[in-house]
Symmetry: C2
Subunit: 160 residues, 2 copies
DNA sequence: TTTTTAGTTCTCAAAATTATGAACTAAAGA
DNA sequence: TCTTTAGTTCATAATTTTGAGAACTAAAAA
C-alpha cells in the first residue's frame, strides 16, 4: 500500500525546519543536509522514507542520498527497514547527543595538544605567552575531563 | 628603525602553524584566517606587524586585511600601536577563551530553543519523540548553566 | 608640496562546494 | 523474462567562497 509521499507539515513547522537548517549550516553542514536534520527533528514521525524526504523538501534524489550518507557517517541519523518493504526509513538518532558531547571534548583536546606543542617550540623565548597559553590549555583539559563527568552524573540522576 | 620583515620560524613551527590552520578551517574559518591564528599562537612575539604577517605567510595584503578584520570582530585578536610608529601590531587575545566558552553555550541554548519549539508544534502527536527531545533540551540547558559555573569556579581557584 | 608608508577597498579570477539530472545497479514484481 | 522500484553514482552546472592585484585613501615624512 502506498501512503502519502509528502510529510504533512504546518507552515510554522516548515519555517522551523529552515531555522534549524540555518543553525546546522552555521555548524558546518551543507544546506540540504541541514534541512534534512531540521525535517527529522520537526516531524512527528520517528522515521521518514527516502521518497518522503525528497518530496517534502523538494530536493533531488542525489543530494538526498549524499546528505543521508554523510549524516549516517556522523552518527546523527539511522534507518530502519521492514521485511516486504524495500524502502528505508530514516530518523534522527535522538539519543546520540552523548557521543556528540564526547566528540566535541576530543576536538577541544586536539587543540590543546597543538597549543602545548606551540609552547614547547617556543621554549623560554616568551614566558608570558607560555604562561597565558598554559592557562588556556589547562582549562581545556579541565573541561574535557569535567564535562563528560557532569554528563554521566546528570544521566545517573535522570535515569535513576 | 626597520627590523626584519619576516618572523623567523623553525620548520617545525611552520608545520605547526599549518596544523593549527587546518584545525581552524575545520571550525569554519577561511584558510588564510586560520593560518594567521596559527602564526599568532606559534610565534614567540606577543605582537606581529601587518607586514610581518603578510611576508611570513606569503599572503596578499588584501587577504590579510580582511582576515584580520574578521578576527577582530570575533574578538580573537587585537592590535596595539606605538606613538611615532604608524604600524599596527597584531596579537592573539590569549585571555578571551572565557568569552568563547560563553558564546558556545549561548549557541547551544539557541538550538535548545529551536528544539523546544519543535516539541510545541508537534503537540501530542508523538509523545515518544517529545520525551527524547525534551531530555536533550534539558541536558543542553543544564550544560549552559553548569559549564560557565565550572569555569568561574576554576578561575577562582586558579587566580584566587 | 610631493613622496612614502600602511592599510583598505574594489574587481575579478580561481577554486571549492553544492546540488541537479541522467545513467546506472540491484533487487523485487509481474 | 521484462518491468518497476529504490537508491547510488557520475558528469556537469550553478553558486559560493576565497584570495590576488590594482587602485585608492589617509596620514606622515621629506
Amino acid at each position: 500500500m502506498k501512503g502519502t509521499i509528502v510529510a504533512e507539515l504546518t507552515q510554522e513547522q516548515r519555517q522551523l525546519i529552515e531555522k534549524m537548517g540555518i543553525y546546522h549550516e552555521q555548524q558546518g553542514f551543507p544546506p540540504v543536509t541541514g534541512r534534512i536534520m531540521g525535517l527529522l527533528y520537526v516531524t512527528d514521525r520517528l522515521h521518514l522514507s527516502f521518497e518522503e524526504i525528497v518530496e517534502t523538501l523538494h530536493i533531488s534524489k542525489s543530494a538526498t542520498s549524499n546528505a543521508l550518507q554523510l549524516l549516517q557517517q556522523m552518527h546523527l541519523i539511522e534507518y530502519t527497514t521492514y521485511s516486504g518493504d524495500r524502502k528505508r526509513y530514516f530518523g534522527a538518532l535522538l539519543e546520540n547527543w552523548h557521543e556528540e558531547v564526547l566528540n566535541k571534548m576530543e576536538s577541544i583536546l586536539g587543540l590543546s595538544k597543538l597549543l602545548r606543542q606551540a609552547n614547547e617550540l617556543r621554549g623560554d623565548a616568551n614566558p608570558t605567552m607560555n604562561q597565558k597559553v598554559t592557562e588556556r590549555i589547562e582549562f581545556m583539559e579541565f573541561l574535557s575531563r569535567e564535562v563528560p563527568a557532569l554528563m554521566y552524573k546528570w544521566l545517573q540522576v535522570r535515569k535513576g
